[in-house]
């Protein structure tokens, strides 16, 4: 049998300070980028029209003018701050992004006026190739008003948070709530780090990127659960071992699976980045970053947090267990009332 990575015995938790340090650093970098950009009057995130409002016109040309020529034509027709963006895998196509100018403004009509200076548009219902007199054709439009933009933004955030709560509740029910909390913190970390990258490199965030972030949430939780599941199993098998050792063992035992699965997903996503085309580019990049950090966070974030939390609870437990002795004696002496209350109090932090 051909295999990688079995009988590995690494002390993952021993490096937790490094892991968490690196993560905090990455998150701070992203946060710093967002704050500095915001403070200096630039945009913290490069939000697409989906969330900011505005119009994107996709135009295909028979003979594409230079981006500057298109920009000049737009300026002449009174369209300011338009972004002309070439499509790398379709040299005849450009994206023209027009910022929002109040409700009811029709960005498409203005862009069309400007493009008409290069020759007419292909008639409705005909492709560019079929209409010999035409020099371009608008093949796609995305126009989002301010109201719809805010709606989409709020909805995306609300839905993501709701999904995270759903995950927390399920893991809490199947494992312990500390496991659920650790998994959700790890996922949150992944999302923050990915968003940090998007801020630093100013990659555009569209609705599709949100779908990618959700994919990454699913993927990261999936990975975390595989490790936690092993921990749960090992805790039953090796009751004597400390949680620290069990967690390390579990990560090591699932390591071959982690490497194989995540390696394969990594390759598929790489295929998406390379062959998915420009439409999917931001989406694929979000997934790409997400896969790397989703894998990393199950081992480096979720597990240490869970172990730390469980150990604290155990310590607290022991303390309350000690203080039980006193009231128990008292209960025997007939002071049942006071004992009941302190029992209830003591059991509180466990749930």
């Amino acid at each position: 049998m051909f295999q990688v990575l079995h009988d590995i015995n690494l002390d993952w938790l021993g490096n937790r300070k490094w892991f968490i340090g690196i993560s905090v650093l990455l998150m701070l970098a992203g946060l710093g980028s967002a704050i500095v950009r915001q403070a200096t009057g630039r945009q913290a995130f490069n939000l697409g029209v989906d969330f900011k409002g505005g119009t994107v016109v996709t135009a295909r040309f028979r003979q594409k003018p230079s981006d500057d020529a298109i920009r000049n034509a737009l300026t002449e027709k009174g369209v300011r701050d338009a972004v002309v963006q070439p499509v790398t895998d379709r040299p005849d196509t450009v994206l023209i992004k027009v910022p929002l100018e109040g409700e009811g403004q029709d960005g498409r009509t203005k862009v069309k006026e400007a493009l008409n200076t290069f020759g007419g548009e292909a008639a409705p219902g005909t492709e560019l190739e079929a209409d010999q007199n035409a020099s371009y054709k608008i093949v796609g439009t995305d126009a989002v008003g301010a109201i719809a933009g805010a709606q989409l933004r709020n909805k995306a955030i609300a839905v993501t948070l709701a999904a995270l709560v759903g995950i927390l509740v399920y893991i809490a029910a199947r494992f312990e709530w500390t496991y659920g909390a650790a998994a959700v913190i790890a996922v949150f970390h992944d999302v923050l780090v990915t968003l940090g990258f998007f801020s630093i490199f100013q990659i555009e965030i569209s609705l599709n990127v949100i779908a990618a972030l959700l994919t990454l949430v699913g993927f990261s939780v999936n990975d975390t659960i595989v490790v936690f599941d092993r921990i749960r199993e090992n805790r039953k098998l090796h009751r004597r071992d400390s949680l620290y050792k069990i967690t390390n063992d579990s990560i090591n035992q699932t390591l071959s699976r982690t490497v194989i699965t995540n390696g394969l997903v990594f390759l598929s996503v790489l295929a998406l980045v390379l062959f998915g085309g420009d439409v999917l580019r931001a989406f694929s990049l979000a997934l790409f970053i997400g896969v790397v950090f989703g894998t990393y966070s199950s081992i480096a974030i979720a597990s240490p947090i869970m172990v730390w939390w469980e150990q604290r609870l155990e310590a607290a437990n022991r303390e309350t267990a000690l203080s039980f002795n006193q009231p128990r004696v008292m209960k025997a002496a007939g002071a049942a009332k006071g004992a009941k209350r302190s029992l209830r109090d003591a059991s509180k932090p466990l749930h």
Binding site: T58, D89, Q253
Partner: protein, 565 residues
């Protein structure tokens, strides 16, 4: 027992597979041989799988009915009517106002004699619908009597206006002959939004224009001396108001409207030349409005140039009676045709007119036809605005399909090659499970009538990832058990049983979060969630049940000492 168990499993798998394959490539009618040729399958595949607008091309429009404008109009109309009613009943009104701010709609009258408040209230409520206590709440203080629209009435009236707008848009779409449109309310209950999806529409600009046309038609009496004196017009709005002689205000039974006079067309005049905008004073209420229309159609203008069109309209019986009576009594006076608050044309009444008229203006053939269409479908209760428009041309959609499919296939190929290389014999197992997963996932999409979108393809890619993960989890577990010295059959059993717990947990977690996305998410997020949920449910069958059955079958054939894994 094991043999029998195996047989049941094989039968179940065979049935599911055959049904799944047929669902994907079989036609939804009695199949013939041609359907199973390569091109036949391609054809059926196209009609079976419902592609989203981003893949097949089409338009997605979200619009909002400006219900606040509707409530504002209601308030202003009731204010005018209330003033007239009070005056008609012989009470002196010093002033008053109509407040119409979003959320607050109020009609107030200021009385010369505050002691007459109750009488004025009764006189007004007898004639005007302000008496409906479900809609308006009455109050009086000092010399002012007022009616305020209740919150619940604002909600009900706004909702009604949205429903009405939805119906009118529906009839306009039908009149345009758009195939397979989806029209529904959108967003929260009180957001008054309408979603319209039109697959494959080629000219979204025209559709947008037609849907947005308010088409409020009114026929009004233009105030001024009768013919042969020319129609009374004023160069500015100020002049028009001043002519009313009421200290710079417009009395409640008058309106001042803009008027763009048409140039009589002849070969000598420049068709683009326009006369300056003028203003006219018209009587309120209008003689009749668009709700009395029976029909409207575009016809070439008489004596005009070839591309000059006008609209002929005819009236319903009740409207014709009203119109006939009015025109009979006002021979030689001037009448105006008002469209969306702008006077389109003015003519004097030569003889009594009963049931038809024209709207003239600078109409091209298409704009005249479009206007006639919107007039026939009725006026929108309130203007609409577009919040979101997404139009994807068919060629752009094709590009996206190609890119998505290419990326998925490359990913799939990588996975297949690796699984065969790394797990050898058992890798075949995984590949069979993976391919079955793909087929059944498509079948699932078809059965649930789900739409495949671009993010949906991303969902497929994540499903491939999780399907592989299931196999890897199982195989790695079996290897582990083998290493610890278990026999092949018990290693396989243990491997499946233990991995199954993990697989269930990972799948259920993802399905739960996807359900949230499906229920609360919008467009692309939903498309993603649908494929993912279907893919994962299928995966529980293909990666666990099918894969295990193959192992059981292998083990039942001969006693194995080693396993190719």
């Amino acid at each position: 027992m094991k043999k029998k168990n195996l047989l049941t499993r094989v039968i179940i798998i065979a049935i599911v597979t055959v049904v799944g394959i047929y669902l994907v490539i079989g036609p939804r009618r009695r199949p013939n041989l041609r359907d199973f040729t390569w091109s036949g399958i391609k054809q059926t595949l196209k009609s079976n799988i419902h592609l989203g607008l981003d893949l097949q091309g089409g338009s997605h429009l979200v619009m909002r009915v400006k219900t606040e404008e509707y409530l504002k109009r209601l308030t202003e109309e009731d204010y005018t009517a209330a003033q007239n009613a009070a005056k008609d009943a012989g009470y002196e009104i010093k002033g008053g106002q109509a407040n119409a701010n979003p959320g607050n709609y109020r009609v107030a009258l200021q009385l010369a004699d505050p002691s007459k408040a109750t009488e004025v209230k009764e006189a007004v409520e007898k004639k005007v619908e302000l008496g409906d206590s479900n809609v308006w709440s009455y109050a009086s203080s000092g010399d002012t009597v007022s009616w305020t629209m209740t919150q619940s009435a604002q909600r009900t009236l706004s909702d009604n206006a949205t429903t009405q707008a939805l119906n009118i848009i529906d009839s306009r779409i039908n009149a345009l002959g758009i195939a397979e449109p989806t029209l529904q309310t959108h967003g929260a209950q009180s957001s008054h939004q309408i979603l319209l999806q039109m697959p494959g529409v080629q000219d979204p600009e025209r559709v947008k224009r037609i849907l947005q046309g308010e088409s409020r038609l009114e026929l009004v009496h233009v105030v001024g001396p009768p013919s042969p004196a020319p129609a009374t017009t004023y160069p500015t709005e100020m002049d028009a108001i001043a002519s009313l002689g009421s200290a710079g205000t417009v009395p409640p039974n008058r309106r001042v409207l803009p008027y763009q006079e048409r140039i009589e067309k002849s070969a000598a005049t420049d068709p683009n030349q326009q006369k300056p905008k003028q203003w006219v004073v018209v009587e309120l209420p209008a003689i009749i409005d668009g709700s009395e229309l029976r029909n409207a159609s575009a016809i070439p203008a008489q004596g005009g140039r070839a591309d000059d069109y006008e609209i002929n309209f005819s009236l319903k019986k009740t409207g014709a009676e009203k119109f006939g009576a009015w025109t009979g009594a006002h021979i030689n006076e001037y009448m105006g045709v008002v469209l969306n608050g702008e006077v389109k044309s003015i003519a004097y009444i030569r003889s009594q007119i009963f049931d038809s008229g024209q709207i003239t203006g600078r109409f091209t053939k298409q704009s005249a036809e479009d206007l006639a269409l919107t007039l026939r479908s009725g006026a929108l209760p309130a203007p609409i605005e577009y919040l979101e428009e997404r139009t994807v041309g068919p060629s752009l959609g094709q590009d996206s399909i190609r890119a998505g499919v290419r990326a998925s296939l490359v990913g799939l190929a990588l996975v297949v090659v690796f699984m065969l290389f790394y797990y050898r014999g058992s890798g075949v197992n995984a590949v069979v499970a993976l391919l079955l997963n793909m087929i059944l996932m498509l079948a699932g999409l078809i059965v649930f009538g789900a739409t495949l979108t671009l993010p949906g393809i991303a969902g497929i890619i994540l499903t491939i990832g999780m399907a592989v993960d299931s196999n890897v989890l199982i195989f790695e577990r079996i290897r582990e058990e083998l290493r610890s010295g278990k026999t092949v059959p018990s290693a396989v059993d243990l491997g499946f049983d233990r991995a199954f717990i993990t697989i269930i947990d990972t799948h259920v977690t993802t399905i739960i979060s996807s359900l949230f996305l499906f229920v609360f998410g919008t467009g692309p997020i939903r498309g993603f969630a649908v494929t993912l949920v279907i893919g994962l449910l299928v995966n529980l069958f293909s990666a666990v049940y099918v894969s295990r059955t193959i192992f059981i079958w292998l083990l039942s054939r001969k006693k194995m000492e080693t396993l190719s894994i």
